[in-house]
């Protein structure tokens, strides 16, 4: 047992235990223990358990995102300070100041790295369990919590003729065509969910300032590499692992949709859309009380009225002024308190 296996062992054990639990559960309900679908559902159950465990972390993140409204004016100042400075080092300087600001006000909207990294060994654990099935079945052995009977059931079970442990490269004794078709469909499903998450949802949830940065553009380009990565893994990974990954992607997509709709990043398109929906219902923009919002509206109206008095103006001058308006000096103010300008 090498070092990598040693670290992976507890995760592998947990994976086998959860698979055992769900398989026993579904069998008790009356499903065929040797059916591929029972095992698919057990894998789906594993995904759901994994993702359910991360819900409290997700809710924690949402709560801290609400705290962001408090530092919104200072964030706007920071964005104005770094406006137009799009080189990587300047963006880093901005990130550094932003982090200091979060710390100062004890808000931090970011998810943290550990939970994400912790999901990787579960994934590899599942990979190792499924990959070990053919060998364990031929040796009449069990795999951790799964006893040898269950391993035999797993080994014999198929999904439309394709064994769950089969990969594109080693399709086992099952129906090769079925393995190929299912693997390709799952790779497509993974790519589609990934694209929807990144291009449709996440793109709406970044502020204009972030969109300018070269890092963001690089990030957007890398999205196009992922179908290739998924295809490579699709060739080498067992169908059961691909099912886990696809379900997990679907879950992330739903979670992201829910979060972006309800707690968008300040200054993003998603926030504008949320405020439009709120306005349609007669609610003030997010983070403002009704009184504050009305006071601001009143102020804006007063300003507009005051502005109207300077009305006599040549058409040329008027044009020049309206052209100037969306330009640099005013922009800084409006990008920060975007909701004020909007309503």
């Amino acid at each position: 047992m090498n070092f990598f296996d040693l670290i992976l062992w507890p995760f592998k054990w947990a994976v086998s235990a959860v698979l055992w639990l769900f398989h026993s559960l579904f069998t008790a309900v009356g499903m065929d223990p040797a059916s591929g679908w029972t095992w698919v559902l057990a894998i789906v159950g594993l995904t759901l358990i994994m993702r359910t465990l991360t819900i409290p972390l997700f809710m924690k993140q949402i709560r801290s995102m609400r705290g962001m409204q408090v530092i919104q004016p200072e964030m706007a100042k920071l964005q104005a300070k770094y406006k137009g400075k799009t080189d990587q080092v300047s963006r880093q300087a901005m990130a550094q100041e932003q982090m200091a600001l979060y710390k100062e006000h004890n808000v931090n909207p970011l998810a943290s790295c550990l939970p994400i990294l912790a999901q990787m060994p579960i994934f590899f654990g599942l990979f190792q369990v499924l990959n070990g099935v053919p060998k364990a079945a031929s040796n009449d052995e069990g795999i951790l919590v799964l006893n040898s009977d269950m391993i035999h059931q797993f080994y014999d079970s198929t999904l439309f003729g394709a064994p769950l442990f089969s990969t594109l490269r080693s399709p086992g004794d099952g129906n090769h065509t079925a393995t190929v078709v299912i693997a390709i469909l799952l790779v497509i499903a993974m790519t589609v969910t990934m694209f929807i998450s990144q291009k449709q949802l996440a793109a709406k949830n970044v502020s204009e300032a972030t969109k300018e940065s070269p890092m963001y553009r690089q990030q957007q380009m890398i999205i196009y590499i992922f179908p290739i990565i998924f295809a490579v893994t699709g060739i080498n990974f067992p169908i059961g692992v691909l099912i886990y990954w696809t379900i997990s992607n679907l879950w992330s997509m739903g979670q992201q949709y829910w979060m972006i709709r309800r707690n968008p990043t300040p200054g993003s398109q998603a926030e504008r859309e949320l405020n439009e929906r709120r306005a349609a219902k007669g609610l003030p923009p997010v983070g403002k009380s009704k009184e504050e919002h009305e006071a601001e509206l009143e102020e804006a109206r007063a300003k507009a009225a005051a502005g109207q008095r300077q009305q006599p103006m040549s058409k040329k001058r008027q044009k020049a002024q309206t052209k100037k308006a969306p330009g640099s000096p005013n922009r800084t103010g409006s990008s920060g308190s975007g909701s004020t300008g909007k309503k």
């Binding site: 300047s90 880093q92 300087a93 200091a100 979060y102 943290s112 790295c113 996440a202």
Partner: protein
């Protein structure tokens, strides 16, 4: 602003360049061995650097911004392995990852000083520039690399730095790798 941080002449020349120019001309993070034995000795460090760079290029973007700290965990990992070598760098990275959990307050959390020494701003590899983005940050970093005696050793930074920094780099990491 740099005056109060024990300014060297070398820093002066670098301050004239924009951070982007510095970044474009910056050396890579890899440690260059001088002897065959060093190739082997530095192999774990250079492999880790390569792995972290690949991770940052391909895997990090998949998750978007998640890290609660500055520098992010992967940037911290790359800098700590670059500066402190494979063993200490890996240890620092693991400890940082354990600190980056949902209940952590986050904030600015830098790689500890020490390890490989850098004498001029031009010597700083890219990750060091990204993790120390302002001139003040870089001045503080270089001051930490040059303990008492070292601070006066390079009166003419541009002329002597390349050769000197190379030997400094090699010995610096051999100690810590």
């Amino acid at each position: 602003m740099t005056e109060n941080v024990d300014p060297g002449v070398a820093q002066d020349s670098a301050n004239r360049k924009t951070s982007q120019e510095l970044f474009d001309a910056a050396p890579s993070e890899y440690v260059h061995p001088n002897t065959a034995l060093q190739v082997l000795w530095l192999l774990p460090q250079n492999l880790l650097i390569a792995g972290l760079k690949i991770y940052r290029a391909l895997v990090s973007p998949l998750y978007g911004d998640v890290c609660k700290h500055f520098p992010t965990c992967s940037a911290y990992g790359l800098e700590s392995v670059t500066r402190h070598g494979a063993v200490r760098g890996l240890g620092l990275t693991v400890r940082r990852l354990l600190r980056c959990h949902p209940w952590a307050a986050g904030g600015i959390d830098r790689v500890p000083d020490g390890g490989r020494a850098f004498h001029t701003v031009e010597d700083l590899p890219r990750i060091m520039l990204l993790n120390h983005p302002t001139p003040e940050d870089r001045a503080r970093l270089l001051a930490s690399c040059a303990p008492a005696a070292g601070a006066h050793r390079t009166p003419d930074g541009d002329a002597t730095s390349p050769a000197e920094s190379r030997t400094g780099t090699a010995t610096g990491t051999t100690d810590s790798a």
